[in-house]
């Protein structure tokens, strides 16, 4: 069908070309003939006008006949010759000759001494005539010579028919040539069309939601090709828009990922632990800033470097070497504890974990954790156990020794017997006190010692404590005084806990005193607080000892022969209990002159009548 159309177009085109060529040729021929007639007509008129009129006019007695004019008719070499006439000024034809079928038209006035031409209508259905005329001088007045020629008819001349046939043949012969050329030139377009169709079909199949607005034209012509091209361009544009949207989405996704990555990096950088990621070859690919305070090595010195280049700690280097290379699985993990050489006093845990997944080894993750506090706590725990064991063994040692002595030598010596009994009793009390304080410290540190505070009148509490401590003071020949102001303001305390703090202060004051010395329990009211003080005339403390005396297990270095039997928990416990009551413990002391321990508690506002006071 496509070929037929092209052929038809070619045939029509060739006919049009032939018609155009023939038309142009006919026009050319008509023009040539007109020029020829004009040249001949004017030439003939000019040449005849030069002749004497008498030669041209008919002889007298033969009106209307002129020999010269007749010779024009007889010897005409132009088939279009129509007539020749000599007309008088009044329009009469003095002589005339005419071709068969031609009628000499009436003369028209002629401008003086001029040659001209005019078209003359020779009548209906007659051929138009071109008339050439000129003045003819004569004695009879002004004459004019007129010669008429039929206008060229413009029709195809049969004698030119072979010529036109030749042109038509040549044009027709060009048709198959052009056809072949077009076919040849169209072949790539056809192939392109086929490909576009295939692409369109594929895209349509791939995207069932995309509607083709028109069916492909089966004739595969240029318009079809253009249509396919347009559709392909439509598809391509749509695809480009999709790709642009995908690109925007991808860009947004990329930015989201970048944001997520930055966020994750910030999170990792904020972790208290130092992180290192090593590739399978052992080079560091990621490190957080925390490794510098932990290992003493800047991040810049670590990145892209093997462990040998930056790691000074042999334990860590050995562990990293074990995780280098293949043969590791996700269960490969190792933890070491070491003191980093770059940061003295620091204790670190380093855990290496193989990064393995999807049958791929991505390297090793190393987590560095500051274990200094745990290490110190562990050490403190061990020290605590050792200390407590020592504190328990010391009185047991004394009790055991006095027991043996009593059995071996003291049984007959009453003074030794009394001494042994007193020492054993003191040491037992010391152990009981130690155990009680240990339990209280344990409860305190576990957080299970919570004060149940009530409104308490201090007078009774202080008087009870004074009464309990009196016997111990008297046994050591120490005077225990009580100076409590009347109508002291009430305070909010846990009575049982507060009694422990108070007893520890009183026991210390008695224990670290001299025989014949004194201890005074005082209480007075200030503007906003109540101060309970225990003053002793004991051995006192150096300023250094005073600073540390409330530390756990701190014991003031004793001088002289007397053993005080302290275990370093009493003042620690008292201080903690006072702080639990939002109070503060202050210490004044002078070596050799005694100490004053003061508890400062906030006063409670006066109760309305009927309020309960314990």
């Amino acid at each position: 069908m496509k070929n037929n159309r092209i052929g038809l177009i070619l045939v029509v085109s060739s006919l049009a070309v032939i018609a155009l060529v023939v038309t142009l040729l006919l026009q050319r021929q008509h023009k040539d003939q007109a020029e020829q007639v004009r040249a001949q007509g004017l030439g003939t008129v000019r040449s005849l006008a030069a002749l004497p009129a008498s030669v041209l006019l008919p002889a007298p007695g033969q009106p209307g006949q002129s020999g010269v004019l007749a010779s024009l008719l007889a010897g005409r070499d132009n088939p279009d010759f129509a007539y020749a006439a000599i007309s008088a000024e009044d329009g009469r034809n003095l002589a005339e000759v005419a071709s068969p079928g031609a009628i000499v038209p009436p003369a028209a006035p002629l401008a003086l001494a001029s040659f001209d031409e005019r078209s003359v209508a020779a009548g209906q259905n007659a051929r138009a005539i071109r008339e050439f005329r000129g003045p003819l001088a004569s004695a009879d007045g002004r004459l004019q010579l007129r010669i008429g020629y039929f206008e060229p008819h413009g029709l195809l001349d049969l004698k030119d028919l072979p010529f036109y046939a030749l042109i038509a043949l040549a044009v027709f012969l060009l048709v198959p040539l052009i056809y072949i050329v077009i076919k040849r030139e169209m072949a790539p377009l056809a192939a392109l069309g086929a490909q576009l169709q295939t692409l369109n079909a594929a895209q349509t199949q791939a995207q069932p939601g995309t509607a083709l607005t028109r069916e492909l034209d089966a004739d595969q012509d240029v318009r079809g090709l253009a249509g396919k091209l347009n559709r392909y361009l439509d598809h391509t544009s749509a695809r480009i828009r999709e790709l642009e949207q995908d690109s925007i989405a991808s860009m947004a996704s990329g930015r989201l990922l970048e944001y997520g990555s930055n966020k994750m990096q910030a999170v990792l950088q904020c972790l208290p632990d130092g992180l290192l990621v090593l590739d399978p070859a052992g080079e560091v690919t990621f490190a957080t800033g925390k490794i510098e305070p932990l290992l003493g090595v800047p991040v810049a010195e670590v990145l892209s470097q093997p462990s040998e280049a930056w790691c000074r700690d042999p334990e860590l280097r050995a562990m990293l070497a074990r995780f280098r290379g293949a043969g590791l699985d996700a269960r490969s993990q190792m933890t070491i504890e070491f003191n980093p050489l770059g940061v003295p006093g620091k204790r670190l845990w380093a855990t290496a974990q193989a990064l393995v997944g999807h049958s791929m080894a991505y390297g090793t993750l190393v987590v560095l954790r500051d274990a200094t506090r745990e290490h110190l706590a562990r050490q403190a725990g061990n020290d605590f156990v050792a200390h407590v064991a020592h504190e328990l063994k010391s009185p047991l040692n004394v009790i055991g020794m006095y027991g043996e002595m009593l059995a071996d030598v003291g049984i007959d010596d009453p003074a030794l017997r009394v001494e042994a009994i007193n020492v054993i009793q003191d040491e037992v009390e010391r152990m009981v006190s130690l155990v009680n304080n240990l339990l209280n410290v344990s409860k305190l540190e576990m957080g299970s010692m919570r004060p149940e505070r009530h409104r308490v009148k201090l007078d009774d509490l202080l008087r009870d404590a004074w009464q309990q401590a009196r016997s111990r003071a008297e046994a050591k020949n120490i005077r225990l005084d009580l100076q409590v102001a009347r109508d002291l303001a009430a305070v909010s305390v846990d009575k049982d806990m507060f009694r422990i703090a108070l007893n520890n202060l009183l026991n210390n004051a008695i224990k670290y005193n001299q025989p014949g010395g004194s201890v005074t329990l005082m209480a007075e009211e200030g503007d906003s607080d109540v101060v309970i003080a225990v003053r002793d005339s004991g051995i006192g403390m150096t300023p250094e000892d005073r600073e540390r005396v409330t530390e756990k297990f701190f014991r003031v270095r004793e001088t002289g022969d007397e053993q005080r039997g302290g275990h370093g928990l009493g003042l620690y416990l008292s201080n903690q209990i006072v702080e639990l009551h939002h109070g503060r413990l202050t210490i004044e002391s002078e070596l050799g002159h005694g100490s004053v321990f003061s508890i400062h508690l906030k006063k409670m506002p006066a109760l309305a009548e009927g309020g309960q006071v314990l």
């Binding site: 020794m401 006095y402 043996e404 071996d408 030794l416 270095r557 022969d561």
Partner: protein
């Protein structure tokens, strides 16, 4: 001649009981509260045996032993150190010192007397093997 014993401990009750028991056994007993006092006493008179606690304020027993061995290199009289520490690393330091032995706490005075008796008997035998 009485054998002299130097007791070093910051626990007065321990000194009191050991002195009483050892004097009853016929020993000449001197005592010190810490390492520094012990060195002072030693400068006045070298003991035949020193019995010392380890944990003491001031110069402790470990430093005292090292100082004694360094100060009197030709006199390696026996030193008994009383300790409640059982860990081997706490006891390793004595390996570098000659003739230093441990006494376990709680200390039995009878056991100490038995160790001293054995030591002096062995020493007497070595000095006079034909006696």
């Amino acid at each position: 001649m009485k054998k002299s014993i130097l007791l070093v401990d910051d626990e007065p009750h321990v000194i009191r009981v050991l002195r009483l028991m050892l004097e009853r056994e016929g020993y000449d007993v001197a005592s010190a509260n810490d390492g520094n006092e012990a060195l002072e006493k030693m400068a006045a008179r070298r003991p035949d045996v020193m019995v010392s606690d380890i944990q003491m304020a001031g110069m402790d027993g470990r430093e005292l032993c090292r100082t004694v061995r360094a100060r009197y290199p030709d006199d390696s009289f026996p030193i008994f150190v009383m300790t409640s520490m059982t860990a081997s690393e706490e006891r390793a330091w004595v390996r570098e010192l000659a003739n230093v032995e441990f006494l376990e706490k709680p200390l039995s005075p009878r056991q100490l007397i038995a160790r001293l008796t054995t030591y002096f008997a062995n020493a007497a035998t070595q000095e006079n093997p034909h006696a």
